[in-house]
């Protein structure tokens, strides 16, 4: 993985330790078992926020640590490994919109609350089942926002929505004129369609014309970081399994056909990690962000798709059972693959940015 500074190593180690010990997949099973639409443990998120994770990309002046996206990605990756259910990714993305586009007043009002974990926020862009930021019908008139948003991540726990309207991004608080319809997806996390009906909306006026694109790039890289953790976890689990399972008096890991497949997956995972880390770093450096974010999410889509399928196949029958974790990664994988750009969407964007 990327060469880290001391601060980042500490952060990564802390996240890894916490996720491993305090938030293994059994914690997600509990959340799922509880069956609440919010689908995360408020206590767990409070702990995460206390450790400073909700404020990693928030400026110090507003209660964050300003460590940047590479650092945020490290934490998100570790949480992805154990499928930790939380609104951390959603809030980080929403916070980035306020950091980029908010007035001083808006920043002062919201960022400290997001960083402290007091407020959960999420970004609502798409209005259909496919990611398509060019097809926004939501509009604002006289400070009132009206429109429908589809499959909004972490909508149930959110107090604040960053909503894309035709003419820009707006802050909308939970409350009057905001109605959720739960959309339960295979990942059994929080998703909802939201009908905004004349909800009070506060425009993010800074950040220029590219604000939405810039925020989407951040959504892509942070989501890709979660996917990286998932892919790494499936790979590691599968490799361990192959080293233990005996068939035909032979450890599975010694079958050459499986060795070569694992070598392929290892190479794919290396490609994915390079792309995701470079995407996070690009956001921090501000150089080539749009392109780097697309490469990151496209590689994340491609590799997690392959690894999540191969993980099942290589585990054999037990991988098909709900008792084993590997299927959970598969089900979450497809949801994230479809969020903020499917592979074909991303390739189209890449070609556009490359001028062909």
């Amino acid at each position: 993985m990327a060469v880290l500074n001391e601060e980042q190593e500490m952060l990564r180690d802390m996240a890894r330790e916490w996720a491993t010990n305090e938030s293994p997949v059994t914690e997600f099973r509990k959340v799922r078992g509880a069956g609440e639409p919010r689908a995360y443990s408020a206590d767990a998120y409070a702990t995460m926020a206390q450790m400073g994770w909700a404020g990693i990309i928030v400026p110090e002046a507003h209660g964050g640590s300003d460590f940047g996206f590479m650092s945020a990605g490290l934490v998100v990756e570790e949480l992805g490994k154990t499928l930790t259910a939380s609104p951390l990714v959603a809030t980080t993305i929403a916070a980035s919109a306020i950091v980029l586009g908010g007035s001083e007043e808006q920043k002062a009002k919201w960022l400290p609350r997001l960083a402290s974990g007091e407020t959960v926020a999420t970004l609502a862009v798409d209005e259909g089942a496919q990611h398509d930021p060019s097809a926004i019908e939501t509009s604002v008139s006289g400070g009132k926002l009206t429109g429908k948003k589809a499959f909004v991540h972490e909508a149930h726990g959110a107090d604040l929505f960053v909503v894309a309207a035709k003419d820009g991004l707006y802050l909308v608080e939970k409350g009057d004129g905001v109605a959720l319809t739960t959309r339960k997806l295979t990942d059994q996390r929080s998703h909802a369609d939201i009908a905004f009906d004349g909800a009070a909306a506060d425009r993010l006026a800074n950040g220029g014309d590219s604000l939405l694109d810039d925020v989407l790039a951040r959504a892509q890289v942070v989501t890709a970081a979660e996917m990286l953790g998932m892919a790494q976890a499936v790979f590691d689990t599968t490799l361990d399994y192959l080293k233990q399972r005996v068939q035909f008096n032979q450890v599975l890991a010694t079958f050459q056909a499986l060795q070569h497949r694992m070598a392929d997956l290892f190479a794919d995972l290396a490609q994915m990690r390079s792309a995701v880390e470079a995407g996070l770093q690009a956001v921090d450096s501000g150089f080539g962000v749009g392109r780097a974010a697309i490469i990151a999410k496209a590689e994340a889509n491609r590799v997690l798709h392959v690894i999540s399928n191969q993980g099942i196949q290589l585990h054999g029958g037990i991988g098909m059972t709900d008792e084993y974790d590997v299927g959970f990664y598969l089900k979450r994988a497809r949801v994230l693959e479809a969020s903020w750009g499917s592979s074909s969407y991303l390739k189209d964007r890449f070609a556009k940015l490359s001028g062909y």
Partner: protein, 403 residues
């Protein structure tokens, strides 16, 4: 190739066709029209409606649910062409065959081949009448692809065995009356120490625990045997013949997985048509997403090619009077393609294609998700793709370890 016998045969067949039509008119209730056989699936219990029960009993009495099985054991005793007529007329009337399940698909044909007279008389008739459900006791936690490694042991106690051990992937074990199982009767010989026996699921010492799958359904169980008494009358064939009989049964299973039957049904609807419902089309009615369109066409060309291969395998087998060597690729290719199709189907629909539950999703959408998840098993069970590759390489291509 007209022969002089043709007119008579024809007349006979027409008479039989009328008989079937008459039977349907008398016994098949309109309310079941277009419904599927609730007993056929492995993924649910069965609470029959009175109409369903009546229909099952009517067909069972004739033996037409197992049309070509011998009449003496409750089968239809029909010729192949008569069986075809039953199938055709049922289809015309929108009537399902109410007799099904693993008893019909796997166990019955095997017992007819290897069972004693007494066993056939006892077990075949209830299968023909759809009264008894069978489950399969094959896999164990440490005997999956390497089935011969099974450890469940049946100790000889004179007139009966005492069985101890654990089976897994027992399809429909929680709803089954009986289990056909392979168990070890001799620990000194891996293959020849295996015997094929029939176990009552309600015998003392049999415990069943359903396994929840990633699709959320529980069609399989873990089955635990603790000092279960099995009378010697329930041994099929000789002691030690279990591997041979068990493998024969697996051939029936494999045919069912790859054999186009369920796959062809699954593929009923063209992906292109579905994509048109979910995506934009241009003035010519073509998908505007050319990349998706290309991928769908790519899939459907290979799928057509697979159907042609399945047909060719049948034709070659007939012509050669043996199994065609390309039959060996059908399971591998068919299951791979059906998984690819499921992935495409989901992708076409975006997040709407990933629904777990809720009224905002159509039944078709939710079924596609369950099918996508459950379908991951097709490349694992019934001889995994890896095992198929070993078989093809070694048996068909002769890439042997020692040469």
């Amino acid at each position: 190739m007209a022969t002089q016998l043709e007119p008579d045969v024809h007349a006979d067949e027409e008479a039989f066709r009328t008989e079937v039509q008459q039977f349907l008119a008398n016994h098949f209730p309109d309310e079941l029209k277009g419904k599927a056989n609730a007993l056929a699936g492995v993924d649910g219990p069965t609470d029959e409606t009175p109409a369903q029960t009546k229909w099952r009993e009517a067909v069972g009495e004739r033996g037409w649910g197992t049309p070509t099985w011998p009449k003496q054991y409750g089968g239809g005793g029909l010729t192949k062409s008569e069986a075809k007529i039953v199938e055709q007329e049922f289809a015309k009337a929108g009537a399902y065959n109410p007799i099904g399940g693993m008893g019909v698909m796997m166990f019955g044909p095997t017992l007819l081949e290897y069972g004693s007279e007494a066993q056939k008389s006892e077990h075949i008739p209830p299968i023909c009448r759809g009264e008894i459900r069978w489950c399969q006791g094959y896999s164990e936690p440490n005997a999956g692809s390497d089935l011969a490694n099974l450890q469940t042991f049946a100790e000889d106690k004179g007139d009966h065995y005492v069985v101890n051990g654990q089976k897994t992937w027992t399809s429909g074990g929680q709803w089954a009356d009986k289990c056909f199982a392979i168990v070890r009767t001799d620990k000194s010989d891996k293959h020849r120490g295996i015997s094929f026996m029939l176990i009552d699921m309600d015998a003392p010492g049999v415990e069943v625990r359903p396994i929840t799958m990633i699709s959320g359904t529980s069609p399989f169980c873990e089955t635990f045997f603790t000092d279960v008494k099995v009378p010697k009358a329930n041994l099929v064939g000789e002691e030690g013949q279990g591997w041979t009989i068990g493998k024969r049964l697996l051939q029936h299973e494999r045919t069912n997985i790859s054999g186009g039957g369920s796959l062809a049904r699954l593929m009923g609807q063209s992906l292109g048509e579905i994509a048109k419902k979910y995506g934009e089309t241009d003035a010519d009615g073509e998908l505007t997403d050319r990349v998706l369109r290309d991928r769908i066409a790519d899939f459907e060309i290979r799928w057509n090619s697979f159907l042609l291969t399945a047909r060719r395998a049948v034709e070659e087998s007939k012509a050669q009077g043996g199994v065609s060597e390309i039959s060996s690729v059908l399971k591998k290719v068919g299951t791979k393609l059906s998984q690819e199709r499921s992935e495409l189907l989901i992708e076409i629909r975006g997040l709407q294609g990933l629904g777990w539950e809720g009224e905002e999703f159509t039944d078709g959408e939710l079924e596609a998700v369950r099918g996508w998840l459950f379908g991951k098993a097709t490349t694992i069970y019934g001889g995994s793709t890896e095992i198929q590759n070993n078989i093809i390489a070694k048996r068909v291509l002769g890439m042997l370890d020692h040469q």
